[in-house]
């Protein structure tokens, strides 16, 4: 209790808002402190920061013309890494390093944007189904069953084919096919929260559904959704890789998945041109691993059952 004293300002100078904000700051500070103590989490965070910075400064490092086969006609083909070409060139003479840099932008964008879509749809459906219940719940859960039961890859392929190859369509496809997992987890949590006594107390106080959801349900499912979101990013990145590898990616934007596909079709593996496929592969593994490490750590820190009592 001693750490309490430095938070408590004697007298009643605090306004309710400032009390609430102080609490949030304190909670966030505690999570951050636990996060910093977590080795894996910090390793993941450093990798993510590095990749994000790399993706952001890419336009300063390399010109987009390096992605064009026409502009690369003068370059040697299948050149191994050298001073001129840091990561060598591909079968068309394009710089692998430039493709890698631009690919990181696509992969990160798809990973983060698709995850946001998954989280928004999934948590919305989960909260509505769990809180309202009844026939609304039945309909929403049958719908999510439908998405869960249909084999994911064929559905994604069909959707990507119909909608056409653009990066936003890829994001959309990943979003609409992956939300049921988040919806299920959120709904389960909401169902258990709804039975909690403090929700009944709020009802007895005359609270509206809106108040109960905003004050009691959402703050208690938010950590779970956050942890799941960080775990959904790798799935989205891998899905983008899969779709790009199958030739359903955006032909104008290079991505790590597309690099792998092009390396594969160009015969980089038989030519032993490791510099063509390894960077993209390692990039995917590193980002996926980093998100997973952060996600697992967050899950551990935010789950009260896994956390020692404050």
């Amino acid at each position: 209790m001693s750490e309490l004293s430095d938070v408590v300002v004697p007298g009643s100078a605090q306004s309710p808002r400032s009390v609430a904000w102080a609490r949030r700051r304190r909670a966030a500070g505690e999570v951050w402190a636990a996060f910093r103590r977590h080795r894996q989490a910090m390793a993941g965070l450093i990798i993510l920061l590095a990749v994000t910075v790399m993706a952001l400064v890419t336009p300063l490092l390399a010109d987009r013309t390096g992605l064009s086969a026409v502009d690369s006609l003068d370059n040697p083909v299948w050149a191994s890494p050298s001073g001129d070409f840091f990561l060598g060139t591909d079968n068309l003479g394009r710089s692998v390093a430039v493709q890698f840099l631009y690919g990181s932008r696509t992969s990160l964008l798809v990973g983060v944007a698709a995850t946001m879509l998954i989280v928004v749809i999934g948590s919305l459906v989960g909260v509505i189904a769990g809180f309202i219940g009844g026939w609304v719940d039945s309909i929403l859960m049958r719908l999510s069953d439908w998405f869960l039961v249909i084999p994911f890859l064929p559905l994604a392929i069909v959707l990507a084919r119909i909608l056409g190859p653009s990066i936003w369509n890829i994001i959309f496809v990943i979003g609409v096919t992956s939300w049921p997992y988040v919806a299920r987890i959120t709904r389960a949590q909401v169902l258990s929260l709804r039975q909690r006594l403090f929700v009944e107390r709020a009802r007895a106080l005359g609270a509206s559904r809106r108040h109960i959801v905003r004050q009691h349900i959402l703050p208690n499912v938010a950590p779970l959704i956050l942890a799941n979101a960080t775990l959904a990013v790798p799935i989205a990145i891998l899905t983008e890789t899969t779709l790009a590898f199958l030739g359903l990616g955006d032909s104008r934007n290079p991505s790590w998945g597309k690099s792998l596909e092009e390396a594969y079709t160009a015969g980089a593996i038989t030519r032993n041109a490791w510099w063509y496929y390894l960077p993209a592969g390692i990039g995917i593994i590193a980002v996926v691993l980093a998100f997973t490490m952060c996600g697992r750590a967050l899950e551990e820190i935010l789950d009260p059952r896994l956390r020692e009592r404050r």
Binding site: V8, S12, P16, V19, F198, A202, A204, L205, A207
Partner: protein, 347 residues
């Protein structure tokens, strides 16, 4: 006589369960006048908690009416909202009833915010906290439920209820989850609130001894019905129903009574016995007393309602001493025809 603040008329609550319909509350009439403490006593599963939850509309009564302050309580959020400002509830488990992510301040202020109470929120919250015994309020307000003791949590819960200046407080086993040493303090606090603010309290408890300590009136419930009701001194001093006597006989403070340990659990409310619902466990029936009085057939076959206890002159409708027992009325006929000694009790 004061007009009743709360009137419950013939309220039934039925639930569907896997084994068929459960009749948790089976026709209850109850009046609460301003400024009184009514204790609702009975074993686990007798429907007392369901009854007070139905008063607040937390479970919808299957039939019957609840009137608060002259207005029949309707259904639906809008109508219940007004009721839920004047009627507050205190829960058995203060740990579960406080959101672990909210400070005591936020929990107490919640009702004020829901009802958009005008005025100085901080002042109202701190005032409620200090009235509930959490002093100095500024020190307790920013704390979280896990940072204070169980008794302090219950005080915070009471503060949250009293912040809205309710006219009726429904307390569901308010001290059952607390240490014996803290129970007395919480009960004294509740009694003090009645004296200071004129609030009425309906306290649900399974402990007649506790009811004796704080209640002005006691209602004893058995299997969804009130079987005896009256002023505390009448019910404790002159219990009429065999069930009340059995409950009283095991209160340690009342050593004079011969102990009667009731056999069996509370019967299953999905299968209510015929006749008087207490007869399978009734000591009057088991001892052969009912047969001697010639009422055995009525005990096992004839349902009955509350009736005024003979002898005592009822002060008024609300405060009358009522019991639902064939033996009480049968005995009354005998005493009325015979020696006429008031206070004679069967068994």
């Amino acid at each position: 006589m004061a007009e009743p603040l709360l009137s419950v008329r013939d309220v039934h609550v039925r639930f569907a369960s896997r084994r068929g319909p459960v009749h948790a509350v089976a026709g209850v009439d109850l009046d609460v006048v301003p400024g009184e403490v009514l204790a609702l006593v009975g074993e686990s599963g007798c429907g007392k908690t369901t009854l007070i939850r139905s008063i607040l509309g937390l479970v919808a009564p299957t039939s019957g009416s609840v009137t608060f302050d002259g207005h029949v309580v309707g259904r639906g959020h809008r109508r219940l909202r007004r009721l839920r400002r004047s009627v507050q509830m205190v829960f058995q488990d203060p740990t579960g009833a406080l959101n672990p992510r909210h400070s005591l301040y936020e929990s107490v202020a919640e009702g004020l915010r829901i009802h958009k109470v005008e005025g100085d929120e901080i002042g109202l919250v701190h005032d409620a906290l200090s009235r509930a015994g959490l002093r100095p309020a500024a020190r307790y307000a920013p704390r979280y439920p896990h940072e204070v003791s169980g008794g302090q949590r219950q005080r915070a819960l009471i503060a949250g209820a009293m912040a809205l200046s309710p006219r009726l407080l429904l307390a569901d086993e308010p001290v059952a989850s607390l240490d014996a040493s803290i129970r007395g303090e919480i009960l004294a606090l509740m009694r003090g609130l009645v004296d200071d603010t004129g609030v009425s309290i309906v306290a649900v408890t399974h402990d007649l001894g506790l009811a004796w300590n704080i209640a002005d009136r006691i209602a004893v419930m058995y299997l969804g019905r009130i079987v005896e009701i009256g002023a505390t001194e009448d019910v404790i001093g002159d219990p009429q129903h065999p069930y009340t006597r059995a409950l009283l006989s095991v209160v340690p403070e009342l050593e004079a009574m011969e102990r009667q340990i009731l056999r069996g659990e509370t019967p299953d409310p999905s299968r209510v016995p015929s006749g008087c619902r207490f007869h399978p466990r009734c000591p009057v029936v088991a001892s052969g007393e009912a047969e001697r009085l010639g009422i055995l057939a009525r005990c096992t076959g004839e349902d009955l309602a509350l009736a005024p206890v003979p002898g005592a002159a009822p002060p008024d409708r609300v405060h009358a001493h009522l019991a639902a027992c064939h033996a009480v009325s049968a005995d009354a006929t005998i005493t009325a025809g015979g020696e006429g000694s008031a206070g004679a009790t069967p068994g």
